[in-house]
């Protein structure tokens, strides 16, 4: 009996500790939400209890949508995200299928390169983007007008190729091969197999690509800022991350939250696959 009481006390203690640590770790999240709903006074909250002093308002969120720059950035972000998703699906699904089923010259090397590039961290990505920027400057000087928002979806889709190819390849690896083999034996041509069997079977793969491409394209700000395309991310990076953000912290907190919420929601949907992706990194190769 005494043992069980001791255990209960221990449990209460451990649970309190668990909640306290959670509060500490999520404090920044709580802070930015509360900052976004305090009336704009040009001050950064120094204590969350100030919310009782200043009151709560949703005016900042409404003001955000009255800002024409913010609104056009939102539209740009939506267009770019949509195009990124379309390009990624069109390009990556067949490639992943090919990597899963076919053998061709350079296949294994390419898969290794993709694995390394999707696992070693963001540095290479940043360097590649800056190199791309210099290259685009030159193309621009040759009269190829490449500094516009229509280039961004291609850049984003290209950046997603290594990781998503691996992810979708794993998905196809788990699909029964007998399906396409049976169709082939029945005399179906390759285009028939692709359109009648492979595409319908890869619906979930496309959902995965959609989720990841959306998170990538909507959340991205660095490339957009470099190429001077006003996406939501670029807009917030140029305004909130700087003196202007500190002058109107509540307004920019709500802008940044409006920008972040779609990504967070999609993340929750995609969580299952993210876990899978990390496992893949630990197991494959």
């Amino acid at each position: 009996m005494g043992f069980s009481i001791g255990k209960t006390v221990l449990k209460i203690f451990a649970t309190v500790m668990g909640f306290t640590i959670l509060f500490v770790m999520l404090y920044p999240v709580l802070f930015i939400i509360i900052q976004s709903i305090t009336p704009e006074k040009g001050i950064i909250l120094t204590s969350l209890t100030q919310v009782f002093e200043y009151g709560v308002t949703f005016e900042n969120y409404l003001r955000a949508f009255q800002d024409p720059l913010f609104y056009s950035a939102l539209v740009n972000s939506a267009i770019i995200s949509f195009l990124t998703i379309v390009i990624s699906i069109v390009v990556i699904t067949p490639a992943a299928y090919s990597f899963s089923r076919f053998k061709f010259f350079g296949r294994d090397t390419l898969l290794y390169v993709y694995l390394i590039l999707s696992q070693v961290g963001g540095g290479f990505g940043i360097i590649a983007v800056i190199a791309l920027f210099m290259f685009l400057v030159i193309l621009n000087s040759w009269g190829i007008p490449i500094f516009n928002m229509w280039v961004l979806p291609f850049i984003y889709a290209s950046g997603a190729v290594p990781f998503q190819t691996w992810l979708i390849k794993t998905y196809f690896d788990n699909l029964p091969k007998e399906l396409d083999e049976a169709a082939f034996i029945d005399g179906a041509s390759w285009s028939q197999i692709v359109f009648k069997i492979v595409l319908p079977a890869s619906r979930s793969a496309m959902v995965i690509i959609t989720l990841f491409s959306f998170m990538g394209a909507w959340g991205e700000f660095f490339v957009a800022n470099l190429l001077r395309v006003q996406t939501l991310g670029a807009y917030i990076f140029q305004t909130a991350i700087g003196p202007r953000g500190e002058q109107a912290p509540s307004l920019f907190a709500s802008l940044a939250l409006i920008y972040a919420i779609p990504v967070i929601l999609v993340y929750i949907f995609a969580q299952r696959y993210i876990g899978e992706a990390y496992r893949m990194g630990a197991v494959k190769g």
């Binding site: 451990a14 963001g122 290209s158 660095f222 630990a282």
Partner: protein, 480 residues
């Protein structure tokens, strides 16, 4: 095998994968090779995208100088004009000094005859200057000779000064009667000063007009060189390794790896142990919630941390940290932010490994009477050490390539003089980690060739890391 070959012909495989490969090569691989080429040039924003108008202007001006100096009548005219200006200015200076003396010696400059005489002499002389600015303009005008557009051959400031001198001298000679004595003397002194500098300029020109044109041509040619991208060999790399900022960036990145990696692992592992302990009620929900930093776009996290660690923000005040002005304050905030961003990863990996530790094994060790510490050290740690190694290597890579953390918090600042023994001192951002160092050379200095060289060196460093990662992760997997 042969069935597989018939079923999956490699040409169909290539056809299916081609679009993605082309996309990837064009937007991600090719620019890297392109930037390797840039690393050996002096590319800057100006010469990568030279303005053709500016280049034409320079070429025209050079051709114009050539015509003026070789055609005798034009050269003579130029010499005459310059000499005339120089002489007039010299005369004017002398007369003004005399005028000043007269004013100083007179009891009342409004009635003194000597002052009046001097004033009228000045008036006469300055009339010679009236048309001169226009004349100079005309003589040194390439449009007349047929070059358009061009840069001015003569400093437009010098020509403007001639007009100013004319104006102020005429004002002196006509209005000295209504001016107060001190005011008048002041004006005279100012004008003399102006005349002297103009005189120096034109005397220099007239004594060696040929030499003057040569200097102008030289500066135009060097402008042209700056605007032309060219191969510079290893110059960028020499510059890089002699740059105190780069050496300091290497050092700072190494320190950051050494401090942030243990911190991330410690926090991540500790949290994993706490939230997989059966003692915590509702741990499944808590576990999901505490991974939140993973779900939040880094831009929002960055903004939040900027606010919290603002010198006037809550945590900045509470901890007394001023990341905008103090080097190591900023460095501490970077470590905290990086840890906050990365603990979900370490935690997930560790929890995955802990879930694999079989209960039987732990129970067996209970029965054997092992203490909690021994249990942890002998049973649990060996089982999670491999996944943890894996996480450690990946997270080391993240610290090595830290870019968003310094960029979003304070751009790698504060700016301070950086001294490296043997390389001297240079002002720069003291917390620029490697990748950010290259980026700032592009975004702040617009020095593309230099940035490309920097990145080439960084990529080589990263390749060393990748090799270590690859070999050790292969070993880790092989041992499983």
């Amino acid at each position: 095998m042969s069935v597989k070959k018939i079923l999956y012909p490699s040409r169909v495989g290539i056809a299916l994968a081609l679009a993605s490969i082309v996309l990837y090569v064009f937007f991600s691989i090719w620019p890297l090779f392109f930037s390797i080429g840039i690393a050996f040039t002096n590319a800057t924003e100006e010469n990568l995208l030279p303005n053709p108008e500016v280049l034409k202007e320079i070429d025209n001006t050079l051709a114009c100088i050539n015509v003026i100096t070789t055609q005798e009548n034009l050269a003579e005219r130029a010499e005459d004009v310059v000499e005339k200006v120089a002489n007039t200015l010299r005369a004017l200076e002398k007369e003004l000094i005399a005028f000043k003396q007269a004013v100083e010696e007179s009891e009342d400059h409004t009635t003194d005859l000597y002052v009046m005489l001097n004033a009228s002499a000045i008036y006469v002389t300055v009339q010679g200057l009236r048309l001169i600015p226009e004349q100079v303009q005309k003589t040194f005008n390439c449009t007349e000779i047929g070059f358009q557009p061009t840069r001015p051959l003569i400093s437009s400031e010098a020509v403007r000064n001639l007009s100013v001198i004319y104006d102020s001298v005429s004002r002196l000679s006509s209005q000295y009667l209504v001016m107060g004595r001190d005011d008048l003397l002041n004006s005279i002194n100012l004008t003399i000063h102006l005349i002297r500098s103009a005189e120096e300029y034109f005397t220099g020109m007239s004594s060696d007009l040929q030499g003057y044109f040569e200097i102008v041509s030289q500066s135009l040619i060097s402008d042209r060189e700056r605007l032309t991208m060219r191969y510079v060999g290893l110059e960028n790399f020499k510059k890089l390794f002699a740059d105190p900022r780069f050496v300091y960036s290497l050092y700072k990145t190494a320190v950051f790896v050494a401090t942030s990696v243990p911190l991330k692992l410690l926090v991540g592992v500790a949290l994993a142990f706490i939230y997989s302990s059966p003692l915590v009620w509702g741990r499944k929900v808590l576990r999901g919630l505490i991974l939140a930093p993973w779900a939040i776009p880094i831009l929002l996290s960055g903004l939040t941390w900027r606010f919290l660690f603002n010198p006037n923000g809550q945590l900045g005040k509470m901890l007394g940290l001023d990341m905008y002005n103090y080097e190591w304050d900023a460095f501490i905030v970077y470590n905290l932010f990086e840890t906050w961003l990365a603990y979900p990863f370490v935690m997930t990996v560790t929890m995955g490994a802990l879930a694999g530790v079989s209960k039987d094994l732990v129970e067996a060790s209970y029965i054997d009477g092992a203490s909690a510490f021994t249990r942890l050290r002998r049973v649990v740690l060996p089982l999670i050490s491999k996944p943890l190694m894996f996480a450690a290597i990946l997270t080391t890579g993240a610290s090595l390539q830290a870019f968003m953390v310094p960029l979003l918090l304070n751009g790698g600042g504060p700016t301070k003089p950086i001294s490296i023994p043997g390389l001297g001192t240079r002002s720069g951002n003291v917390n620029e980690f490697l990748i950010l160092f290259g980026y700032n050379r592009v975004s702040i200095d617009k020095d593309y060739g230099y940035a490309a060289a920097t990145y080439l060196v960084i990529v080589l460093l990263l390749l060393v890391y990748v090799t270590i990662w690859f070999v050790s992760s292969k070993k880790l997997r092989g041992g499983r």
